[in-house]
């Protein structure tokens, strides 16, 4: 049996974290095989031509959290990664006005001043504080969580280091950080601002991907999580990958291949082979069995531990912890092929605002009511939407003169009352288009094709359990050393030689690659 040990490592799932882990393992000289269920790599980070000539960033659509050290260490630029900045956010308002934030600081200041001089003043101070806080959090994102209950010197050292790091922040930053970790984004922003649309649009980034409203405690942290955007070392920048988000996966895959990793698509792993308590390889759905010294899973914790491993191989307590891991999906995605450019009623014409994000988040109450619908099992009739028109930034995404539009929609509960089906999916799509048409009057006339993805579709097509884009909610009790379950947050699992590297591990969701990188480091230590 041992002679069939073909690979040093098998990576289950060719999502961006799996690819990052594979690249780092291969870079260290290991013989690596990545197995991807779909016909292309990338997981949720893919570009697909769903309608002829139009390329959709099907699920994930912006890049900001990708760790600069990964870009550097894997030399992703050489593999075709090109990040284009996203320069503005415009929030159209029901009264026909709008609130905009631009790349140009003075322009943003003038615009905020128009709404509230007080907010214009506070905005800079707030931005500085967030910058420092995000900076303070950075080292934590790049560390393997210690076990706080352990007396082992390594863990203790890590804990003391962590304690000193926090104390070194000084009073104001330390307490602000604690408040961010515990408050709702609405309450947190209420302490700073008065303009409803500003608070709502900022809060919106605090609720993206969570099943919480802006008034739910815990959402302020997600606000910070999104503030940590960093492109090529430029902090707080949001961007868009040339060729769509699939461009990111392609670049990482190319780097992994260059280091010698082998990537197989349309290879569905059915289960992990465990022998004498150690992972020894995987069995594919077609019955093939492939052996390796170690196996690492990039799929979410539920799939990893409840589907791919025989339950008998895991301690009952651990299985219980994974079962209750919260992973409720809350969002949907609508991708449109457009015959021409849509026009915003509040800002007519082909302005620079169409090269940025358009946020449908006029007030905290609007977002909170959207959440209320979902809380009781419906999708939002007037949802929060985060919209970009990728073809304005990268013309190759659509035929000349035509456009693609990416609409992130919240809330759409996985557990829809009566369940999701084709009819309900279209109803959901209609609610999105109807709401958006209030702000873009020409929208309905220019749609050539529409793709609607519900959490149910995300689960079926992309393997995201319950359609959760973060592989598990980013609530306080599911972060750091609790992610996905204490004390298995160091990328190891109760099965020897079996590891996890997906977003269900610290530091969580977003196209950051941090989980993949840290997992590879842990594996290389053990190997």
């Amino acid at each position: 049996m041992a002679s069939q040990n073909n690979y040093d490592a098998i990576v289950i799932g060719g999502g961006h974290n799996g690819l990052v882990a594979a690249a780092y393992l291969a870079r260290a000289g290991k013989k690596v095989l990545v197995l991807e269920r779909r016909h292309l790599v990338g997981g949720s980070t893919v570009t697909e031509e769903i309608y002829p000539g139009f390329k959709y960033s099907v699920l994930s659509y912006v890049v900001s959290l990708l760790r600069p050290e990964i870009i550097r260490e894997l030399d992703l630029a050489a593999h075709g990664l090109e990040l284009l900045p996203l320069e503005s956010t415009v929030t159209p308002l029901p009264n026909g006005d709008y609130l905009a934030r631009w790349a140009d600081h003075d322009q943003t200041r003038r615009e905020l001043y128009r709404h509230s001089p007080k907010d214009a003043e506070a905005y800079d101070e707030f931005g500085t504080l967030m910058y420092h806080l995000a900076f303070a959090i950075k080292p934590i994102l790049a560390m393997v969580p210690p076990d706080p209950t352990s007396l082992n010197p390594g863990d203790l050292r890590s804990l003391v280091k962590l304690g000193n790091h926090f104390r070194g922040l000084g009073e104001e930053k330390l307490y602000s950080l604690i408040k961010l970790m515990t408050m709702s984004s609405a309450d947190y922003l209420d302490e700073w601002f008065e303009t409803e649309a500003l608070k709502a649009t900022m809060s919106a980034s605090g609720v993206i991907g969570t099943f919480l409203g802006p008034r739910s405690p815990g959402t302020a942290y997600v606000l910070l999580h999104h503030y940590m955007g960093e492109i090529d070392g430029a902090f707080r920048a949001w961007g868009f990958a040339k060729g769509g988000t699939g461009g990111v996966s392609e670049a990482i895959a190319s780097a992994a291949r260059r280091f010698g990793a082998e990537i197989r698509t349309e290879s569905t792993v059915a289960r992990v082979i465990v022998e004498n308590g150690r992972a020894a390889g995987v069995v594919l759905e077609n019955g093939d069995d492939i052996r390796a010294s170690v196996v690492v899973s990039g799929v979410d914790p539920k799939r990893t531990f409840l589907d791919l491993i025989e339950p008998g191989e895991l301690p009952g307590e651990f299985v219980h912890a994974i079962r209750r891991f919260r992973i409720r999906g809350s969002s949907g995605k609508v991708n449109l092929a457009l015959d021409e450019l849509p026009e915003l009623a509040c800002l007519p014409g082909r302005g620079p605002h169409l090269r940025g994000a358009i946020s449908i988040s006029p007030s905290i109450e609007y977002l909170e009511r959207a959440y209320d619908d979902a809380k009781y099992g419906g999708f939002s009739r007037h949802p929060f939407m985060d919209i970009i028109i990728p073809s304005m930034i990268d013309p190759d995404m659509a035929p000349p003169g035509k456009h693609v539009m990416s609409i992130f929609v919240q809330y759409a509960p996985y557990e829809l009352d009566g369940g999701w089906n084709d009819a309900r999916r279209e109803e959901f799509g209609d609610a999105v288009i109807d709401t958006l048409s209030e702000y873009m009057p020409n929208l309905k006339d220019i749609i050539l094709h529409r793709q609607v993805l519900t959490p149910w579709d995300m689960e079926r097509e992309f393997g995201l359990t319950e359609g959760n884009i973060f592989h598990g909610e980013l609530s306080l009790h599911q972060l750091f050393f609790m992610r996905p379950a204490a004390p298995w947050s160091d990328y190891r699992t109760p099965v020897r030689d079996f590891y996890q590297c997906g977003s269900g591990t610290h530091p969580g969701g977003g196209i950051s690659g941090a989980s993949g990188r840290l997992a590879a480091r842990t594996m290389l230590e053990d190997m």
């Binding site: 706080p148 209950t149 515990t182 009790h477 004390p487």
Partner: protein
């Protein structure tokens, strides 16, 4: 008038009286000044109709700090009688079924089993876990929160002791308890139980007095907070003071006086006098100035710093922190004088001695919150009603009863209109109509009703924004963050000015803990000089 004291306490609420007694016991000259005619703050029993006495604001006793109980016993020979209600809770459901939570776990399990067998089985391990968590909280509640930035030797020692205590729980339970602290009460209860009525009735203790629904993170913590020091084997406990909660306030007043403290009622303080950055006394509404070596405020932090202290004495940053403390009162009181006992469509009269809880499901509670979130009174509110005259006939004329109802949610900040007679009537009608769905004769037997809106709670009892906890008990306002980060050790930026009320660690409830802890810190400073 030449009056000089070692310490002046502003407000004779139960925490102020606790501090007064502890300080006076060491021989200090202590004066407690109360704005109202009666002492006790929110713990008062009032006659709302001839012969009908009701606990106007707070209508449940909590678990008093054991030190306060022993002080009472030593000084008075006997502490006020705490009635441990049995059943603790009667929760009716619209279909005529009901849930009874008894002091005896076996009896409770029997009642739950009629709704769900598996829930009946899970009750015991749930109580065990919750009790462990509450035990750990209790240990933390006895301590002054450490200053995170400059942990002194004594802090370090108490932290190590606390850590040791946590470690004794064992690795698994320690992680489990840590997890609970940040969860929502809905998540917590969904992990353990399936029956809606049971989950609603347990979840209610996670939102009581909070401007949060059961789907808000931190509400699981609140459930645990409400268990600290209570019956360890029961799912819920209801304590009441025999004779009304005012008896407890009077006993604490007697205790303080027997230790040598002086108490003056109808003596509102309008200002703390400050010289060279030190508190030197207070000025009363009538213009009298009384000097003291130190001033201790039992009023809530916002009232203390923004009304009683001249803002020039504080840094703008501190003032901003105080302004940002969240109060947002969430509940109102409806107190009724009743001609006879209300008859519920299910259960027996003997079941009504504890809390009558209208909490059919967590979704019901969340919907009640939804209304308030947008500034409206709950159409179908969460209700916590007590009928103390059942076990204590002295509270009402023979055969008649008093009922006190905590009504939630009643937002302090109404979106439409203000808290006037008509909105108060509307609130009372929602509450009575809701309760009448379970006790149909209710509307016919009301002799008198008293409604206290959040604004009344503010005006009558000095509770800012009507918040019964002197500041929300949310995760960002607890422990070393209470009342504001950096000032959680009962001291304030003004030398010789202290806080001792529920706005400080460990927060609200009838426990005397903030007052007890504050006295300990003040005495440390006294000794140092």
């Amino acid at each position: 008038m030449s009056q000089r004291y070692d310490a002046i306490i502003i407000g004779a609420g139960h925490n102020g009286l606790t501090t007064a007694a502890r300080l006076a016991k060491t021989g200090m000259r202590v004066l407690a000044l109360e704005r109202r005619e009666t002492i006790g703050g929110a713990l008062v029993t009032e006659e709302i109709h001839p012969g009908f006495k009701v606990d106007a604001a707070c209508h449940q006793a909590g678990a008093l700090h054991p030190g306060v109980i022993s002080d009472l016993e030593q000084a008075l020979g006997v502490a006020p009688e705490i009635v441990r209600c049995d059943p603790a809770v009667f929760a009716p459901q619209i279909d005529g079924r009901h849930l009874l939570l008894w002091r005896d776990p076996a009896a409770t399990a029997e009642s739950i089993a009629a709704l769900s067998r598996s829930d009946a089985e899970n009750a015991k391990p749930f109580v065990e876990l919750a009790t462990k968590a509450a035990g750990l909280l209790e240990a933390a509640y006895d301590q002054t929160p450490p200053d995170l930035l400059s942990v002194g030797a004594s802090d370090l020692w108490s932290l190590v002791r606390l850590g040791g205590r946590a470690r004794r729980l064992g690795k698994r339970d320690m992680m489990e308890v840590g997890r609970l602290l940040t969860m929502t009460v809905t998540e917590l209860l969904d992990e353990w139980f399936e029956n809606d009525l049971l989950k609603g009735t347990l979840g209610a203790t996670g939102i009581s007095g909070m401007f949060q629904g059961p789907m808000a993170a931190g509400t699981a913590y609140m459930l645990l907070h409400n268990r600290v020091g209570m019956d360890s084997g029961a799912l819920r406990s209801t304590y009441r003071v025999h004779g009304g909660i005012g008896v407890l306030s009077r006993a604490l007043g007697d205790l303080a006086q027997s230790c040598g403290a002086e108490i003056r009622t109808s003596a509102p303080v309008v200002r703390v006098t400050i010289r060279n950055g030190r508190a030197t006394g207070v000025v009363l509404e009538n213009g009298d100035e009384i000097t003291a070596d130190r001033v201790i405020s039992n009023a809530d932090p916002r009232h203390t710093f923004l009304s009683l202290v001249d803002p020039v004495e504080l840094t703008p940053r501190f003032v901003r922190q105080v302004r940002n403390i969240k109060y947002r009162g969430a509940c109102a009181k409806v107190n009724l004088a009743l001609d006879t006992l209300p008859s519920f469509t299910s259960g027996e009269a003997a079941h009504l001695g504890g809390v009558v809880s209208i909490s059919p499901s967590l979704a019901y509670l969340e919907r009640a919150y939804d209304d308030a979130k947008y500034g409206d009174i709950s159409q179908e509110p969460y209700l916590e009603a007590v009928i103390p005259s059942i076990s204590d006939p002295s509270l009402a004329p023979h055969g008649k009863h008093v009922m006190s109802i905590l009504v939630q949610y009643a937002p302090y900040h109404l979106k439409r209109g203000a808290w006037d007679q008509s909105t108060k009537d509307q609130l009372a009608e929602h509450a009575i109509k809701t309760l009448a769905q379970y006790a149909p004769n209710l509307e016919q037997i009301i002799l008198e009703r008293q409604v206290l809106s959040p604004r009344d709670l503010e005006t009558d009892f000095g509770l800012t924004e009507g918040n019964i906890y002197h500041g929300e008990m949310t995760l960002d306002q607890l422990f070393f963050m209470r009342p504001v980060p950096g000032w959680a050790r009962y001291r304030t930026p003004i030398e010789n000015l202290y806080l001792c009320g529920a706005g400080t660690h460990p927060g609200g409830g009838v426990t005397g803990r903030p007052g007890y802890n504050a006295a300990r810190e003040i005495l440390k400073d006294v000794k140092r000089r």
